[in-house]
Amino acid sequence: MLLQLKNIFKWVQQGGQRVFLLKDINLEVEEGEFISIMGPSGSGKSTLLNVIGMLDTFDEGEYDFLSESVHTLKEKYRSNLYKEYIGFVFQSYHLLDDLTVEENLEMPLLYKKIKSSERKALVADMLDRFNIVGKKDLFPTQLSGGQQQLVGVARALIGKPKLILADEPTGNLNSQQSEEIMALFKKLNEEDGVTIIQVTHSEKNAEYGSRIINLLDGRKI
């Protein structure tokens, strides 16, 4: 098993009352799964994804990731854990505008303290694989949205993560670009065995996955 959420609660205090963002979430994810989280705005999709990605904390419950109990880890270990195993893809790509495509890809490797020669090789592989060698010296703003997201996915993958978390990865793309990105996810999932959890509004995108989780008001339904 890759990860397991047990009775996760998350709330904020508002006007003296608890407003629940996540309520009693239980979830088991096996390696190689492709899960889509769906639900209306404000239902807690992104919050759940952030909790799984260890970017956000929760108030109650247990979270095991590869048999490590995340809720008891210190920030440093937690960041080591997600640095090692998790890649993020965002709706608005979140590439660093000051860096070229190549440098954006290199960034996670730097934080993993991988040697320069190895970094070069990995980046070259990734550029090759995503067919963006010709764009390596361009800055994100010089690319189309689809191309930016391609770089975003490549950057998420370069650290060879076990799990990719994608928050509405196609939300800013047109339908053709969307299909390409989703096809890419499918291929990564099937051929490389990467586990993927995506948040999406689109039924069509959700169908690329093997399982759908529906949320409403912070609850799994």
């Binding site: 952030n50 970017l55 960041s79 640095k83 965002f90 979140h94 000051d98 934080y111």
Partner: protein, 810 residues
């Protein structure tokens, strides 16, 4: 990784050019200011350290109270040096100087002479004592002959065109012929002997060999043997009083004992001052060269520190404010696996880089401005590019500065929550800016403090310049060194009086301008004991003195040619009255004499009392003074009635040239001579002024950046308000008033501090202003106005943005 940090830092700085400029510029100005102040202080602290054995050299000072006057003497009696060498085994050698002020020097046979400003007699031990090498001549014998002198290189080249001048003759003040027996390098600028160019053999000074313990005219230096401790020398020094001073005095005041001397409240206290301490620590008024004070060093250090702190605070403010733009980056980096330390290092790299760019800019600024700075401080400071230590300190300071400035922003930004920043809630994570507000308050407190200080210093200077001095210093031309006129002096005076725009002319050696003067003891008729001596200055003047300088007689009368007896008349000032213990009217007709010990002393009769006029600096009280008529003047004062001064001067010079051909015509205006007393205050006020402007400028850079940030942060709010019908002026008012509150708090903090500090400073002046309410109002208004101007640009810019634009984003 580090390479990567640098690369990223460079790119993000380049991208945010405006922000980088504000940051770099502020920091560079702060650094340049601090660098210049450091160089200045370093120069001040380096005084006299270049001389060999400087650490073993001391000067003998004496605090003397005798006959109602207290003197802090830097000079000793002529036999002091010899007695010290004889009596104290710790003394290795001694040297004495007797300064002569300026002299006119010319090559024998030459037509024109030129003025050497600093001439002194020096003992023959001079060169060995200070380890000075002679370029030509023998260091042991150079200053032994009665009419020998040693020149500096510059002086030698001026008169002879080379330094190979042994045996050449020079004529001093058109009367005495001296033979050049040596040439030395010019005295270092940062030395006590700066600008001394002519050293005459002490052998030519008859007084130097007299066993006269009563007059202090010789700057006396001793060099202790290496094993000696100055404390062991200092204590027994007091023994000089009983061994030499009293036995000598008993010749004139029979029966005087150490007890009776002390019982009358008189004292002589000898002590030493380290040679290297003289420049900054001496409290003597007559020194061989202008000295400075530690107080100025402290003030400057504070200003330098202020500047750096201001610039650093600026940096913090701008960086944290700017972090809004960086929030997303922090979020992304965190999701990519960056931990806090990585981010902190990254931001510190950035601030380090800015610090180094600023350093380069600061060095450039310093190189450009240093000549001006040297110009008004009278120094020749250079950036010591070739000294490794300088670079080491500079780099260390820069790294430290980068670290200090970057620390807070780095920790601040590395704390951002990635979830929030990526969702676009950056303004939340940037926080409410309590720390930034505190920093703005801090900056403006310093600025307002400096404004208050500047205003007070200016007011005090203005007060000095406009104060009723008891004489009129304006429109008076002083002609120095008229002795070449010889017997034609009176004819010269008459010629000048004939000129249309000349009101009066007087001849005297004494004017109420800074110069070296000493007190003499006078005794009232009938006094038999020295305890009742009156210490007063006596000035030799001519009959037209009071009229020319427009001084008022409060009792009795002015000198008058019709009274033959006026040759033994004296006019005293009001300050003498309390010492005589009489009123002005009672003083008239009293007789006083210098000679108590004589059978038939010659008396001066008091014929008038002149209203007190300031002849010392306003830092000091007016002392006792007497004026009497004597014809030995070397200077002349001409009161002009206005009109074209340069024409009058040219006319006088013409007369001069016909009566004293080939002699230099040397003049200055009395008010200028007067102001030279306040050189150090004037310099201080200029320094204050410059650095106040700088500090306000830096604070404004910060405020400007902060206002930009604030406007950006509130873009949405402004948009909504506009949609709801707010006008541009309402919105810009809202944005501006927040900052004014901060400035207001700063004003409240700094005004009392400024009041306190400046009162301390004013204590040095016997005659000083009261710090008025107006200073504070003015400082406050200035600060507020500067703040409004700085902030309103950003506020108005934000307020006129089309709300459709600001509300469209996310």
């Amino acid at each position: 990784m580090f390479k990567n940090y640098i690369k990223i830092a460079w790119r993000s700085l380049k991208k945010q050019a405006f922000f980088t400029f504000l940051n770099t510029f502020g920091l560079a100005i702060g650094m340049a200011g601090a660098l210049m102040i450091s160089l200045y202080i370093n120069d001040e602290l380096s005084y006299d350290k270049m001389f060999a054995d400087a650490d073993r050299i001391y000067r003998i000072d004496a605090d003397i109270k005798f006959g109602g006057a207290e003197i802090k003497a830097a000079e000793s009696a002529p036999p002091m040096a010899g007695a010290l060498k004889r009596d104290y085994s710790q003394v290795e050698s001694t040297v004495r100087f007797r300064t002569l002020g300026s002299m006119y020097v010319k090559k024998v046979g030459s037509e024109t002479s030129s003025k050497e400003d600093r001439v002194t007699y020096a003992d023959s031990t001079f060169f060995e004592f200070f380890g000075i090498d002679l370029l030509v001549g023998n260091s042991k014998s150079a200053l032994t002959g009665t009419n020998s002198l040693v020149l500096t290189k510059t002086a030698a080249e001026k008169y002879f065109g080379s330094t190979d001048v042994l045996g050449q003759d020079l004529l001093l003040d058109n009367s005495d012929t001296y033979t050049v027996t040596g040439v030395i390098d010019d005295m270092p600028k940062n030395s006590y002997f700066n600008e001394y160019s002519v050293f005459l053999a002490m052998a030519g000074n008859v007084g130097s060999r007299e066993e006269l313990w009563g007059s202090n005219n010789y700057f006396t230096f001793v060099k202790l043997i290496p094993e000696a401790r100055v404390e062991d020398f200092q204590a027994p020094l007091q023994g000089m009083l009983e061994r030499y001073m009293l036995p000598w005095a008993q010749k004139y005041f029979p029966g005087m004992t150490a007890e009776s001397f002390a019982a009358s409240g008189n004292y002589i206290r000898y002590h030493t001052i380290a040679f290297t301490d003289i420049h900054l620590h001496s409290d003597r008024s007559s020194e061989m060269n202008a000295t400075s004070s530690m107080q100025n060093i402290y003030i400057l250090s504070f200003i330098g520190l202020f500047l750096i702190i201001l610039a650093s605070v600026n940096f913090m403010n701008l960086s944290t404010a700017h972090s809004l733009k960086r929030a997303k980056e922090v979020g992304v980096r965190k999701t990519l696996g960056s931990n806090k330390m990585n981010l902190i290092f990254q931001f510190l790299t950035e601030s380090g880089l800015i610090a180094f760019i600023s350093l380069i800019a600061a060095l450039l600024i310093t190189m450009i401005t240093l000549p001006f700075f040297n110009g008004f401080t009278g120094k020749s400071i250079a950036i010591p590019f070739s000294q490794p230590l300088f670079w080491l300190l500079l780099f260390a300071a820069t790294i430290l500065l980068g670290f200090f400035s970057g620390c807070y922003p780095a920790f601040f930004m590395s704390r951002f929550n990635p979830v929030k920043t990526l969702k676009g809630g950056a303004s939340e994570s940037v926080g409410n800016g309590r720390v930034r507000n505190a920093l703005v308050i801090f900056q403006f407190s310093i600025s307002v403090f400096l404004i208050v200080s500047t205003l007070v210093v200016f007011q005090q200077l203005n007060y000095i310049q406009s104060k009723d001095l008891g004489f009129t210093k304006d429109q008076v031309l002083l002609i120095n060194e008229i002795s070449p006129l010889g017997s034609k002096t009176n004819a010269f005076k008459e010629e000048i009086l004939k000129m249309g725009n000349v009101e009066n002319v007087t001849l005297s050696n004494f004017y109420p301008t800074p110069s070296w003067r000493s007190d003499t003891s006078f005794f009232q008729e009938g006094t038999k004991s020295q305890e009742n001596a009156i210490q007063m200055q006596t000035w030799d003047v001519d009959m037209d003195y009071l009229k020319t300088l427009e001084m008022d007689v409060v009792a009795g009368r002015d000198f008058n040619k019709q009274y033959a007896s006026d040759s033994t008349a004296i006019i005293i000032n009001e300050a003498t009255l309390p010492i005589l213990n009489v009123t002005a009217q009672e003083a008239l007709g009293m007789r006083i004499s210098e000679e108590i010990d004589m059978e038939n002393p010659s008396y001066y009769t008091i014929i008038g009392v002149v209203k007190d006029f300031h002849f010392k600096s306003l830092r000091e009280n007016i002392g006792a003074l007497g004026l009497h008529v004597e014809n030995n003047a070397e200077n002349m004062a001409v009161r002009l009635s206005g009109g074209d001064y340069s024409k009058s001067i040219a006319e006088i010079e013409n007369i001069w040239n016909t009566m004293a051909p080939g002699q230099p015509f040397d003049y200055q205006f009395m008010d200028e001579a007067f102001y030279s007393t306040y050189n150090s205050e004037q310099k201080l006020s200029q320094i204050f002024f410059i650095f106040t402007i700088l500090s306000i400028f830096i604070a404004c850079l910060g405020l400007f950046g902060l206002a930009a940030f604030n406007a950006e942060k509130r873009t949405k709010e402004i948009g909504v308000r506009k949609v709801l019908g707010a006008t541009v002026s309402q919105i810009s008012y809202r944005l501006t008033v927040d900052f004014l509150k901060l400035v207001g708090v700063a004003i409240l903090i700094s005004l009392p501090l400024g009041w306190f500090a400046m009162n301390k400073w004013l204590e040095d002046f016997s005659y000083r202003i009261e710090i008025g309410f107006g200073v504070f109002v003015l400082a406050a208004v200035l600060a507020i106005m500067v703040a409004i101007v700085t902030v309103s640009y950003q506020s108005i810019k934000a307020a006129i943005v089309n709300p459709v634009k600001s509300l469209r984003s996310d």
